[in-house]
Symmetry: D2
Subunit: 454 residues, 4 copies
Amino acid sequence: MTVDTILTGKVVSPHGVYDRTSIAVKDGKIVSIGDKSTMPPAEEEVDYGDLLILPGAVDTHTHSLGTAEEGHWNSTSAAAAGGVTTINDHPLDLGGAPSSSDDIYTKAEKTAKEAIVDFSLLAAGLPEKMDNIIEVADKGVTGYKMLMHTTSGAHAYGMRAVDDGELYAMFERIAKVNQVGMVHAENEWVINYLVDKYTKEGKTYLAAHHETRPEFTEVVSVHTAIEFARALDMRLHIVHVSVPRSFDLIMQARAEGVKVTGETCPHYLISNEDHWKKVGSHFKINPPLRSEDSRQGLWKKIREGKIHMVSSDHAPHPGVEAPNVFDNPSGSPGIETMVPLVFHEGVHKGNIDLPTFAKLMSYNPAKLMGLYPQKGSIEVGCDADFAIIDDKKEWNIEAKNLRAQSGWSMFEGMNITGKVLATFVRGTKVYQEGEVIGEKGYGKWVKKTRNYDL
Amino acid sequence: MTVDTILTGKVVSPHGVYDRTSIAVKDGKIVSIGDKSTMPPAEEEVDYGDLLILPGAVDTHTHSLGTAEEGHWNSTSAAAAGGVTTINDHPLDLGGAPSSSDDIYTKAEKTAKEAIVDFSLLAAGLPEKMDNIIEVADKGVTGYKMLMHTTSGAHAYGMRAVDDGELYAMFERIAKVNQVGMVHAENEWVINYLVDKYTKEGKTYLAAHHETRPEFTEVVSVHTAIEFARALDMRLHIVHVSVPRSFDLIMQARAEGVKVTGETCPHYLISNEDHWKKVGSHFKINPPLRSEDSRQGLWKKIREGKIHMVSSDHAPHPGVEAPNVFDNPSGSPGIETMVPLVFHEGVHKGNIDLPTFAKLMSYNPAKLMGLYPQKGSIEVGCDADFAIIDDKKEWNIEAKNLRAQSGWSMFEGMNITGKVLATFVRGTKVYQEGEVIGEKGYGKWVKKTRNYDL
Amino acid sequence: MTVDTILTGKVVSPHGVYDRTSIAVKDGKIVSIGDKSTMPPAEEEVDYGDLLILPGAVDTHTHSLGTAEEGHWNSTSAAAAGGVTTINDHPLDLGGAPSSSDDIYTKAEKTAKEAIVDFSLLAAGLPEKMDNIIEVADKGVTGYKMLMHTTSGAHAYGMRAVDDGELYAMFERIAKVNQVGMVHAENEWVINYLVDKYTKEGKTYLAAHHETRPEFTEVVSVHTAIEFARALDMRLHIVHVSVPRSFDLIMQARAEGVKVTGETCPHYLISNEDHWKKVGSHFKINPPLRSEDSRQGLWKKIREGKIHMVSSDHAPHPGVEAPNVFDNPSGSPGIETMVPLVFHEGVHKGNIDLPTFAKLMSYNPAKLMGLYPQKGSIEVGCDADFAIIDDKKEWNIEAKNLRAQSGWSMFEGMNITGKVLATFVRGTKVYQEGEVIGEKGYGKWVKKTRNYDL
Amino acid sequence: MTVDTILTGKVVSPHGVYDRTSIAVKDGKIVSIGDKSTMPPAEEEVDYGDLLILPGAVDTHTHSLGTAEEGHWNSTSAAAAGGVTTINDHPLDLGGAPSSSDDIYTKAEKTAKEAIVDFSLLAAGLPEKMDNIIEVADKGVTGYKMLMHTTSGAHAYGMRAVDDGELYAMFERIAKVNQVGMVHAENEWVINYLVDKYTKEGKTYLAAHHETRPEFTEVVSVHTAIEFARALDMRLHIVHVSVPRSFDLIMQARAEGVKVTGETCPHYLISNEDHWKKVGSHFKINPPLRSEDSRQGLWKKIREGKIHMVSSDHAPHPGVEAPNVFDNPSGSPGIETMVPLVFHEGVHKGNIDLPTFAKLMSYNPAKLMGLYPQKGSIEVGCDADFAIIDDKKEWNIEAKNLRAQSGWSMFEGMNITGKVLATFVRGTKVYQEGEVIGEKGYGKWVKKTRNYDL
Ligand SMILES: [Zn+2]
Ligand SMILES: [Zn+2]
Ligand SMILES: [Zn+2]
Ligand SMILES: [Zn+2]
Ligand SMILES: [Zn+2]
Ligand SMILES: [Zn+2]
Ligand SMILES: [Zn+2]
Ligand SMILES: [Zn+2]
């Protein structure tokens, strides 16, 4: 027989690092890992020398349809250029948050025409449509998004902060179908109080954003979500966790048997609450950037194995700079820079080793969402999704080269060591050195098949 | 010189037990403790033999004006008959919850005409009148009552569950004036959801009361209140805690520097969620009676020193028994039976020693409310407030003999070892063997003077 | 090119389970893992259908030369028949405990003539020859064995319980060369006191063995060893841990930064202190079998990920049954039954999944001893060491079929689900269905190359 | 009637502070506490104005007979001058350690002829005379002293470090009679190893003392003693604890139900391991002075309520300064400066309040030793033992003014705020402003009557 492709390089799996090892791909799947001399002829052979072959990143948290400009072509092009081979698109979509199987099928169909990397879909948990939670549960969705805080623009998508009764009611249904609830955990009522107070006092400067969202506004919501999950034995995932202590609560609850996981994002790992001094309103995101102590605290948690994964929370919006910080949108483009940023600060700076990197970016997200073993690893039988990384290459982030339609980056000008050279999805190269070369619509919907206990 | 009274007996202070010891009283104060032979002549000498002379109980939690029938004459008569010499009246009053100094002075004046034991007053924390928190802070109030759940009848008093933003806003003000916030911690929104659900399903039997208020509905609110107190360095007191795990959270937060205390009530220590089988709707109270495991868990916490005090939550209402449990009022008469019940189950059954009893019932509540050293102990300089207890006397609780205007008791028929024989307030006997002998209006308003760290 | 062998089956690595997957072997190494259709021609192909292909077990704890009868031919034959492909032989050898490089080379040479599976060697930590610790450190030994208790027969090997000063002095040297200290942790002085006391009282019945070695005699020595390791930042491994609480201490110390690991043994996982009722003096082992509560506690620790590995502590001695239990030797044959017993009680009964089994038996021991990636996993580049297991096959343990020269088994007659069908060492089959087919002297010395932080 | 004496001042009990309060004394006992106007005529009235009247200190740890020079006249004179009204003399006596009731009676008789403050006696736990533990248990001794380390000079008293088996055997007996075991917890074998090593390397400078006794040599022995106490449910008291982490172990064990307490000493609270730079060999004590971090850590433990008491470990020896630090004796005179030092660093510097001071110095030691309520507090019925302290008075420690026969002080020249003005034992003044005025032989043997759970 022959295979389609053989890639050779320094293979990094979640379980180890293998120098000068080859991967044979046939029909989009990894069919063999080993010494190239043992492999059958291939239509194409690529030798990456000592460059890294990593599993493509699996991003649990993207917002492709949250702005009129972005859409799945742009977001997945940016993904491809950033070494991300699967995105999990959240339901905060202009035009309404998909919650039923009809909604999901419609979105899947539309996305499949645009995407160039694979995608999975998260349904919306809507208090007004609770029956949909049951109805859509086994249709391949990766879980449900719920808001404890009406984050920027959420009203436009038909999603709002739910009260504790609504949250509990939705958790009840999610537990019943043994699915995963993903929660934006910030306290709506305290933040609204503080924003009102600041507004009345005329304190609308940039730093007012994080001053009105102190760390406890996240922590208190994490407590609440965990207690509900504990009471119901529900699978809970806290998205974009920004406070180290939140991970302490998550780990303590896990030790007590609660099924809860947490993700953080590159921006919390790279910059801090003073970042507005560099980038003006582009620093604005929910939850906000935290203190330098907290940023370092998150790395400590990562080193201790207390953070399960990193997601981009890719939410690009056109850059505006209103005089009142509260009038600016929150959210940041992030999918194209996620892998390089975490590689730079994590692997290059010695905070984590390569298998841990693969766990944070690929393996654990794929398991959380029930996409493993199709996605998330380099093992025989997995999809041939790879990010080829030059771990010594230095470069600078420049928004003008990025594909998100926002046209800016929170990390403009940052010098990075570690660059994505090429990206493969199911054995096909979709990105190479600056060029997205896959075709629109190559991406496929990946459905959840089972739960894992991370 | 001469003194007014010398009492002799087995003196129990929060710090020790002193056999055959005398207490000399002059002008309502303890002026000497010791051997009677050392004392000057007294106008009256009473020798109680081996009976116990305890500090009068200080009840942090009464509702004298919550029903048209009760009022301070009745509630303080019941207090006197129950060995309670100071009540802290909560602001859930028919006609409106006092929150300003005018409100408080008016209530104090009115109460002073009725009461026969001393009283302190708790102000209402009202989101609509937040300025009052600052204004009334130094007027002698013992703190502020806030509701995280709109308990039975609360609307009638102009108090309702506040949302988290309102709670935080009030905590901010309380922290600013270094006062104490007392919180009813149950989750309004989850309970409402569950009650609605049960109602729709026609499940309105008696046990539906506690089934719709599972333990986590308390725990989650305790988390929230503690996080707010932590963020603001505010003094927090959680009233009527019913779940052992809540005390774990309180103790852990204290170990981390949060200023938080908790009280439980006799009913959580004596009976459990199956109590409706004995007493019908009279078991109904918020938070509800818990499982037998939890009841025993509370005693374990007491033995481990993790519960600061016991209060009555005296809330008598005329007994009704609606076909739908949710239509019945919540709350129970309790002040007259509190001391005997805790004595019986605690001291008589060997769960606690006498000084611990004095700490739970008198010393710690007086310190929490800043009434110590005037109230709460038997030390030179304290008010001569005593409960004389026959620790061997057996009797049965019979509602017809109790003074609360509700006319029933959750503990009807219970056999008790340990009986209050007489009660003294500021050296004057106000109760003796079945008769309230003090006069209406003898009771005085006791004002808070400072904070203690319990 | 061609490869030597291709095995196909349900491949179990420490990282996952891969149905119907093939492994290509050349020159004793795994050169490829994948779909068989992708692989080059092989001299031999074996299709195991749905049977399990696991990494061969790595046993950190064997005593091949502790009795005149056993020797490495017998112990490694038993290993091969039990799916164990590498043994780590401890230095309690008749004729003297090897501690210098001369000693080790001599033992290695001798062993290499006998063994049919691979072996590594542990040096003796001898207080009389402390310089040897430094001298032998980089000669490929996997660490040092030290006794805190003079276990049965130890004097015959020139090893005895060291006092705390000697232990600390040896730890100092081990820390200096960044090696691993492996400790038998039982308190010599308390056990001797209790044995003397029992003997004087005439209490020499079988149960006297465990009664004179209560659980705290292990725990207290674990404390001591951990404190020394903490003070010196030394790598500590506690062998044959029998008490669940010992693992709590280990895990707590690890959380505090101490480099400590622990192993338990099949006998502690399968039977309990009442086992003498079934097998007479054959139950005798140090530390002793524990209570049924503790046995279940160990499984709980395994399920929680708090036990790093399982070893056999293979110490066969001819069966005798002295009238005085203290006159019987301690130690038990175990290497041939280890994999089946842990498979049966662990995997078959649902306590652990297959990758966890591979971690406990192969991956973690190989990492602890610095033999990974040569040993301990199924990954490209590893030695082709496999145990083929029929996970559904039922059989009974019968000592007459076992290869240890003791001629008895503590588990005589036990019904097991899960049987080793064949064993491969470096690609060569050394055992198949009841027959050891490898040749004497096939086994090679495997040297430690580096440390891993487990 | 009349009383003997009335003292008036600012009374400090373990439970509170009472301004301008009087204490009436008759026949050596406190017969009344209160307002002076209520008290009967007294033969003597002393008004101390605003000076403090504290309970006399109860020192659990003195060595009066460990040197030929000291003896009970000197040690109790120093006690009187230092506000200490009861000493608990340890059995490290020249001429042999008392362990039988004969020994104890003989020592008591002899001591009663010399002492001017009251005393209790600790028996020796001797492995050679274990039966004495049972025999002397109910003769009024406060417990047993045992050495895990052969501290300086111990051989001269017939006491040596016991091995773990001997320690356990003695604990067994102590548990059987429900008495208290007091342990010097340092690891004999590690310290000996390190001292030998240093000696061989010629490192005999002063700092070698603490370098050969690193903190873990205490911690590891604390672990051992606690595990034995846990296994036997024995009452354990660790004397002269010098390491903060030891108190963590004690508190954790207590939370798990172990009956263990700990004391620290003034020197660990006042100075640190660099103290030899100031005082040469006079800094030498076992365990040694620790790092400044540890010194501050002990105060943190005190503030957190994790240290039960402070003792002097009064062990004066004539000052010598051998060229080899290991040839110098260990031990320090301390009883006369204990109360002022802890007052200065504790109360004056704001680390603790006055009632906590009374707990550490008087109340808790008296309870530990079963001397309360006779000793340790200011309550009606207690012995009239007082220290009168001027809390504002500044003075300098000068060894020439101290009564210990060593003639030096580790704290020479230190400026102190807080001075003992007078001391009363059983109502009789034994010290006043520089003069010991009690008579030799006034002191009485105080016997233990019961156990308390601290
Ligand atoms: Zn969000
Ligand atoms: Zn988002
Ligand atoms: Zn309430
Ligand atoms: Zn209430
Ligand atoms: Zn062993
Ligand atoms: Zn062994
Ligand atoms: Zn000592
Ligand atoms: Zn001493």
